[in-house]
């Protein structure tokens, strides 16, 4: 991968691979079907709706491809993706709507 050595890239792939496997298999492999404490379940429930948007927001706001310059087409595309995703609950619908907005505005400006 650009910026890091092959050894580092392979180490990252293997570590994420084993790490992810242990996360997913964790409770299936434990006998007796143990459960998380309530407080942990309550926090973990918010992992997808916080980690993913927190990661995406700076990327959409200051795109690396434009050397950090804010682009209205990207912001509008992101806003439409979020709105359509919340309203329709469709992953693919959100991607298509957001991408269409982004491309249409990008062609205009």
């Amino acid at each position: 991968m650009t910026g890091i050595s092959d050894v580092t890239a392979w180490a990252a792939i293997i570590t994420l691979g084993f790490g992810t496997y242990f996360v997913r298999a964790s409770f299936l492999l434990l006998a007796g079907g143990r459960e998380f404490p309530t407080w942990a379940m309550r926090l973990l429930r918010y992992v997808p709706v916080t980690v993913l948007p927190a990661l995406a927001a700076p990327m959409a706001m200051w795109p690396r491809a434009l050397e950090g310059e804010t682009d209205p087409a990207r912001i509008a595309g992101a806003a439409v993706t979020i709105a359509v995703g919340i309203l329709t609950r469709s992953l693919l619908g959100a991607i298509v709507a957001g991408l269409a907005t982004f491309l249409a505005l990008g062609a205009l400006f």
């Binding site: 991968m1 990252a12 079907g33 916080t50």
Partner: protein, 270 residues
């Protein structure tokens, strides 16, 4: 998760036979479950294929070779975390931060694992070890719904359904990535492919934002991530996620308390 095809096993309500049998013997129960699961999983190929394709294209654009991409995609099988890893490493974040952020995205899989585990008690450990590999969003969603709808089904059939629903989904992800990686180098550099990962993250998260606590959690996470974007080593991401999760849990508790207080007040008035 709507509009699944009609299930052919529904009409023939067979009696549950020998529920303690091995999932791979259980007199055809495993195969019957597998067939129902596969039929339910097929519609998801439509979503998984293009998403895998996109990952192949983005990973190629980030400078990964085909071998690395294919090992990553078939070993990890968790699209969002794979995008996170590639994106943060390309962004110059320390590799350990990229791995931790990718693992954080995958923490939800531990919740899936915990809620699937009771349905797998009593199966051999290698069945559970393979089942662990199949813990992905779509398989979890399909299986849990089936188990709740049909508590009377035999264990062999339940486990057949689980692996069956993964059968069209997991290979679609891997094959989609391969096609994307092979076609990726043919994509002109002028295309704004950099917007694909954030778009995908928003699209993955948005359908899960239901109700006030989720909305508050996401809003706080996004605001904090923008305010803390200057922090080194992606600490802003970790802090913003933590603040968002705490907010979601706090709002949830506050709303539950208020509902309980209202119920008490209603009871006292009567």
């Amino acid at each position: 998760m709507k509009d699944l095809p009609p299930d052919p096993s529904m009409s023939a309500a067979e009696p549950v036979r020998n529920p303690s049998a091995s999932p791979f013997r259980g007199d055809g129960e495993f195969l019957r479950g597998f067939r129902s699961g596969a039929l339910a999983g097929i519609p998801f190929m439509v979503v998984v294929w293009p998403f895998g394709l996109l990952f192949g294209v983005v990973a190629t654009a980030a400078g990964m070779d085909l071998t690395g991409i294919m090992v990553l995609t078939s070993f990890v099988i968790a699209g969002a975390s794979q995008f996170v890893l590639i994106e943060l490493i390309s962004d110059g974040a320390p590799v350990i931060v990229a791995i931790l952020a990718a693992l954080a995205v995958n923490l939800r899989l531990a919740m899936y694992s915990a809620s699937l585990a009771p349905y797998f008690t009593g199966t051999s450990s290698w069945v559970r070890a393979i089942a662990g590999y199949f813990v992905v969003d779509q398989v979890y969603g399909l299986a849990l719904r089936r188990y709740q709808d049909r508590p009377e089904e035999s264990r062999a059939r339940r486990i057949g359904y689980y692996f069956g629903s993964g059968a069209p989904i997991l290979p679609s992800w891997i094959a989609g990535t391969a096609v994307g990686a092979l076609a990726g180098s043919a994509i002109p550099a002028s295309l704004p492919i950099d917007f694909a990962p954030p778009l995908t993250f928003f699209a993955l998260a948005a359908p899960m934002i239901r109700g006030v606590p989720n909305l508050c959690a996401a809003a706080v996470a996004v605001t904090a991530a923008l305010l803390l974007a200057e922090l080194p080593w992606s600490l802003g991401l970790l802090a913003a996620s933590g603040l968002g999760m705490g907010t979601g849990a706090a709002v949830e508790i506050a709303l539950a308390r208020r509902a309980a207080a209202r119920a008490d007040a209603g009871g006292a008035a009567r």
